[in-house]
Amino acid sequence: MRVMAQLAMVMNLDKCIGCHTCSVTCKQAWTNRSGTEYVWFNNVETRPGQGYPRRYEDQDRWRGGWELDRRGRLRPRSGGRARRLLTIFSNPLMPSIGDYYEPWTYDYASLTTAPLGDDFPVARPHSLVSGERMKVEWSANWDDDLGGGPALAAADPVVEKIAQDVRLDYERVFMFYLPRICEHCLNPSCMAACPSGAIYKREEDGIVLVDQDRCRGWRMCVTGCPYKKVYFNHRTGKAEKCTFCYPRVEVGLPTVCSETCVGRLRYLGVLLYDADRVAEAAETEDDTALYEAQLGVFLDPEDPDVRAAARRDGVPDAWVRAARDSPVHALVNRFRVALPLHPEYRTMPMVWYIPPLSPVVDALRGTGHDAEDAGNLFGAIETLRIPVSYLAELFSAGDPEPVTRVLRRLAALRSYMRDRNLGDPADPAKAEAVGMTGRDMDDLYRLLALARYEERYVIPTQAEAEAAALEESVCPVGEDAGARPGPFGEASGRPERASVESFHALRDRQTGGALVHPADRKGRVNLLNWDGQGRPGGLFPHRPKKKKEGEE
């Protein structure tokens, strides 16, 4: 067992109103630059719909994610190492700008500089890629709210997968929104596809990042990612992707998309997992068993063995504590209402979704039935095969069982809480019918309906982690550790461990007799005595002795 911590997200799709605030604030924060005009680290798709980029879920065409080879081992679906290197000079499996959309702006100046006349001046669109005038024909959310009608929605690869008889008239039956960011997978196929090794997963929090100085623009990650959430910056020639707002989460702030979500549908928290079992779980043969396999990788932070192993593997105590309070852990492991997006891609995604019950409720209410009654809802979940099979294609590789189970739990919760709100006694049978207790119901209700900011976002800071590492107890002085210079001078060799250095500094201070080391004195100046005129010696660090030309 090798314990690792992962910052993960859960989105409650019932609450998404498709306002795109997350997308817009994310874009303002991260991709409002030249070269990333077409890039949305966060986008919101209307389902059924083609998504962004168009039909990205059609893996027969784009070949993202992993597949099992003949011997049952994982291999990127776009091909193994040799094939990737031999085909490096062109990559037909990469979407072109037309598959995303050609970004544009308007010549707004014509509105204010047009001469006086009978006609209203118009601002015409022109392309941000070529600079030419263009006709706007597609965008990141062109089919928003089922715009474009059945013609566009029928080209949804998920709809195409659903059985023919179920497909009819689906667009009249239901619609929901799917916000998407990078999945920060446990088994990322973008990383596997990167020839330069520039994409890496951070050991501390599992965030997947692109090292901009190591990326060489081979574009294989764009192909490798089945969610098409790695983008090619066409100005800098480098791959860019969602950063999970790492500068924010490192200091304990939620990501921009979570922070600004008006529906408050996002949850952030830590999950502990066993890194040694990830590959094994991703190699599970049956697509529909991948969801359970992924659950099997997660570790229970309440388990003393796990906590001991976490300490051994360098997961800070603050992170284990956060994992116990984590809303993500609760929704994914305890209540099991959150499901991964397309587990069949075998990337072990770490942004999870609570499937929406609202299509079922709306359909039920439309027929005049009581849409809060558990019996009615359970019946509707069984009968309304269209939403269920669609959701199953998204969240459980086509197996309706997990989706049905989640929807039944949500339905039971709805009915259970209505009793409570109407002053009736709570009916524990409703909870038991879906394998939960009354207490579970209360907790789940609190988490889904009431949870405040600090309950939705339980983010341990990196400072806590680093502070723990600096503690003497964590980092004892070794027997032969001393402040010896390395073989090539003072700064060479391994850096001293903090506690070792403070040990020697303390001893020097106690035995030296001087306030500061005499050698350091000329490098210091008391700014309180400085009148602001001139440059007293020691104001700046002294220049090291002359070095040879070209050496630094």
Binding site: F89, S96, I97, S130, P195, E204, F232, G237, E250
Partner: protein, 239 residues
């Protein structure tokens, strides 16, 4: 003039190549990329790019076989002059033609496809001129001198001179009287070498040879990892 061309220019170009690459590594790792335009246009690139790159790889292998490997070693391996000549003529022409055709398509694509053209810098244009010239001259050398005119054994003149450069004993007398096409091809090749690290060609040095040997997944600590630049004086982290 001869000293300048055959004894000074080679070293200048090598110094620029090495120095420029080191400079680029230290100060412009962010700019070290293929600068791919595949996002804009894919259909022409699909044919042209592999054609050009594979042609070029074989061209480079041919140069290694012809210039670096001495004639004596080849005959020791049992490769007769006539066999070598035939192989170099036909394989060389084929590889050269592929590279030239690929480059021609790439330049055509660059000129005619709006987004690709607007992403082209002056640096790129200069590089295309030099690369095109050196490829065309190289193809001409192979086809005209070695094919139509019956064969010129550069392995007794250019080859030993090239190897002499690395032994720091450039023998400029060897280069006297070489056909003019050879001279031009060599000079342009050296100029291209000198400019190599300052153009987009530098991406060739990022060839991912380590990729087959690394595990698929890469973990890295938040705090470790390569630094982009040396810490400024006085701003070194406290260790």
């Amino acid at each position: 003039m001869r000293v300048l061309l055959w004894a000074v220019l080679p070293y200048v170009s090598v110094v620029l190549l090495v120095g420029g690459t080191v400079w680029r590594w230290r100060y412009d790792r962010f700019g070290w990329t293929t600068r791919s335009s595949e996002l804009y246009e894919k259909r022409l690139l699909r044919i042209a790019s592999p054609l050009f790159h594979y042609g070029l790889i074989f061209v480079i292998l041919g140069h290694v076989a012809g210039l670096v490997v001495p004639e004596g070693w080849m005959s020791a391996l049992g490769v007769r002059e006539s066999v070598y000549h035939a192989v170099s003529l036909y394989a060389g022409s084929l590889a050269g033609a592929a590279a030239v055709a690929g480059l021609a398509m790439l330049v055509y694509r660059r000129r005619t496809r709006g987004p690709v053209f607007s992403a082209t810098t002056r640096n790129d244009k200069l590089m295309y001129v030099l690369l095109g010239a050196s490829l065309l001259l190289g193809l001409a050398v192979t086809v005209v001198e070695n094919g139509i005119l019956g064969g010129y054994d550069y392995r007794t003149t250019v080859g030993p001179w090239f190897r002499g450069l690395f032994a720091l004993r450039p023998d400029i007398t060897l280069m006297e009287g070489i056909p003019l096409l050879y001279a031009f091809h060599t000079v342009i090749g050296m100029v291209l070498t000198a400019l190599f690290p300052f153009t987009r060609l530098i991406h060739a040095f990022a060839a991912p040879w380590r990729y087959p040997f690394r595990p698929y997944l890469v973990y890295r600590s938040r705090t470790s990892g390569p630094r982009t630049r040396a810490e400024r004086r006085g701003w070194e982290p406290i260790r």
